[in-house]
């Protein structure tokens, strides 16, 4: 498989994750450091669905997504709504608190054992021949398709759908939106639900492709790097950020050293924060300047 294809697959995965960060940031102006654990939680819901339906993937995916959407909305009302008006730092720390609660919950419910949901589904490892000598496995093709679909569909949804317009209004100016009769808490809860579903999609893909266990939150957390590089309030920026991060990571893994590759997203992020803290496509006034 060519290097470019590997980068594209990795970038698609990062884009799926990064869009979850952006959705939550736009709604509640908080960097959700619990995103990785939401991803693990959603993936475990999916796994539970697989076990209970004896391997029916569509049912399991529906279970995972519905459960995740529900969880996201509940988290907003329990955690973020009481902290409305608190400093951003406090709310970020609150998401760390959420992360450890979620992590201990998943470990308590499903134990720390590593699972391989792909065993239930099958046929995902099959290769599709794209061109002579260039093939891609079914799961990788699905990841790229899902990422492309979200990149096109999510901005369209925010632009056209009535509820999407509400979401943009709340993100733009919550006070004014509330004055115009939008229930900002319901809209924000929807954003959280949507972000949790995005995390779950990423989690389902990762658990099918690699493995499932409480320790994979690390993969989900790494998604904040593309989101920040692209600009925390820009869905389009995430795609570019994901490409940059994935390229650095894959090249570092191939040519430098495996441990350094793990840190590559964060190294890129440090450089990006230093040069252009508001991100490639983010709005500049978002940043509290000194």
């Amino acid at each position: 498989m060519s290097l470019a294809l590997i980068i594209l697959i990795q970038a698609s995965f990062y884009a799926l994750l990064g869009m979850g960060y952006v959705l939550i940031y736009r709604a509640t102006r908080v960097l959700n450091l619990a995103h990785g654990d939401l991803m693990v939680f959603g993936a475990f819901l999916f796994y539970q669905g697989l076990v209970m339906t004896n391997g029916s993937a569509p049912l399991a995916i529906t279970t995972g997504m519905l459960g995740a959407a529900f969880a996201g909305a509940i988290i907003y009302f329990l955690l973020m709504r009481p902290l409305a008006g608190y400093p951003a730092a406090v709310r970020v720390l609150a998401t760390i608190a959420l992360a450890i609660v979620l992590r201990s919950l998943t470990t308590a419910l499903w134990s720390g054992q590593t699972r391989y949901p792909a065993e239930y589904v099958g046929q995902l490892g099959q290769a599709i021949e794209l061109a002579a000598g260039l093939s891609i496995s079914v799961i990788d093709a699905l990841i790229i398709a899902a990422a492309l679909l979200s990149i096109v569909a999510l901005p369209l949804f925010l632009q056209r759908a009535a509820i999407g317009v509400d979401m943009r209004g709340v993100a733009e100016n919550a006070l004014l939106a509330a004055q115009r009769g939008i229930n900002i808490h319901n809209v924000n809860a929807l954003s959280w639900a949507a972000a949790t579903v995005m995390a779950t999609i990423a989690g389902i893909f990762f658990s099918l492709k690699v493995r499932l266990g409480p320790d994979i939150w690390y993969v989900g957390l790494a998604g904040f790097a593309p989101a920040l590089i692209g600009g925390m309030d820009s869905l389009r920026g995430v795609a570019i950020g994901a490409l940059i991060v994935a390229a650095t990571e894959v090249i570092a893994a191939r040519f430098i050293a495996p441990h350094i590759a793990l840190a590559a997203p964060f190294l890129v992020l440090l450089v990006a924060l230093w040069i252009r803290p508001w991100g490639l496509f983010g709005s500049r006034e978002e940043l509290e300047r000194i």
Binding site: L33, L79, I100, T107, H259, I260, A263, L273, E288, R289
Partner: protein, 356 residues
């Protein structure tokens, strides 16, 4: 001037009383009693609980360092576990490569901390709030990755063993010896901290915390004091990491994960950001909580079934308690303590305290 009621401890009437480290004779008396009981404590504690006390001392040094940065100067740092790892790995490297004695390695750890603080603090000159927090978290992952690569390359894939250190001809190996060494070290660090906060440094840091633009207008070199806060804090953190390495006797990169970072964040948040007393109370709370949970599951029959899940329960409780303190009691345990104290000091009046 005469008062009808006793003067609350927060109300200072002279400059001399404002500068005092320990206020009245009453405070001095109880400070002396406290110190004496700390010295006598290992005589009654079992070896296990002495070890817990030693972990607690190291945690207090680490929590004081984090509090200096987050509480006093208001710079969020999510890189604390990485900074502790740097201190521990400095010791590991110096012991492994040069077989260096303890004073040298401790000094090296402090120097490493100062350099690291300047590196990590540089983004703080450009970034604020959320973005600074993210850059320190990114720094954490980079540090851990670099140290992990080092651990893998040097050939001790599993980690570094640190032999018990020699200090002035003494081998420090028993928990009781460690207790007295760490008690002394913690007392010195605590005194340093309290004095920093009473001096120009501390006032500058607090001014930056409250409003950096105003601090700049008052003639405080914000950039310099921010870097100073970062390097002081990371130097203390690395020092704590170095002590941790010696006391644990084994250094591996796996120990310095996000969970350690969360523990330290929990200490300063639950204790109360910006308060030295809070950092100590928070460290006590966080270090003792798992042991309390273990004792509870062992002694209470209806909790027996939870025995195998102590770690999960503890982590989950941390999260819930952290959130409750963030939402309901931002001044933490130190705030609760201060309120209780003022209540009794002002009794029978019900005026709110000056600070609250």
């Amino acid at each position: 001037m005469r008062y009808l009621v006793s003067v609350p401890s927060t109300l200072r009437t002279t400059y001399a009383s404002d500068m005092q480290l320990l206020g009245s004779g009453f405070t001095k008396f109880w400070a002396a009693v406290g110190l004496a009981s700390m010295v006598g404590l290992p005589l009654v504690l079992t070896n296990f609980w002495t070890a817990v006390a030693n972990q607690l001392f190291i945690a207090i040094v680490g929590a004081l360092a984090l509090n200096l940065l987050m509480g006093t100067t208001g710079q969020i740092s999510l890189g604390h576990a990485g900074f502790i790892a740097t201190g521990a790995f400095t010791v590991a490297a110096f012991v492994t490569h040069f077989n260096a004695p303890m004073p040298v390695t401790l000094l090296a750890a402090v120097v490493a901390g100062i350099v690291l603080g300047i590196l990590v603090g540089l983004p703080a000159l450009r970034l604020k709030g959320l973005y600074l927090a993210v850059s320190t978290l990114a720094a954490h992952f980079v540090i851990i990755a670099v140290l992990g690569q080092y651990q893998a390359n040097v050939g001790y894939g599993e980690g570094f063993t640190i032999p018990p250190p020699d200090l002035f001809g003494w081998t420090i190996s028993s928990e009781r010896t460690w207790y007295y060494l760490l008690l002394g070290v913690t007392a010195i660090v605590l005194l340093l901290n309290v004095n920093w906060l009473r001096s120009a440094f501390g006032r500058a840091w607090m001014a930056i915390h409250h409003r950096d633009v105003a601090a700049e207008a008052l003639g405080i070199n914000v950039a310099r004091y921010k870097l100073l806060a970062f390097s002081t804090s990371t130097a203390m953190t690395c020092f704590a990491g170095a002590l941790w390495a010696y006391h644990t006797g084994f250094v591996s990169v796996e120990a310095f994960d996000i969970h350690m970072l969360i523990q330290f964040l929990a200490m300063v948040i639950i204790g109360g950001l910006g308060s030295v007393l809070g950092a100590i109370l928070g460290a006590v709370f966080v270090i003792l909580l798992p042991h309390v949970i273990t004792l509870a599951t062992e002694s209470l029959p209806f909790l027996h079934g939870l025995g195998g899940k102590v770690f999960e329960i503890q982590a989950g409780l941390f999260g819930v308690i952290m959130f409750l303190f963030l939402a309901l009691e931002p001044r933490g345990l130190a705030g609760i303590w201060a309120r209780t104290r003022y209540y009794f000091e002002l009794w029978p009046f019900r005026y709110r305290s000056w600070e609250a």
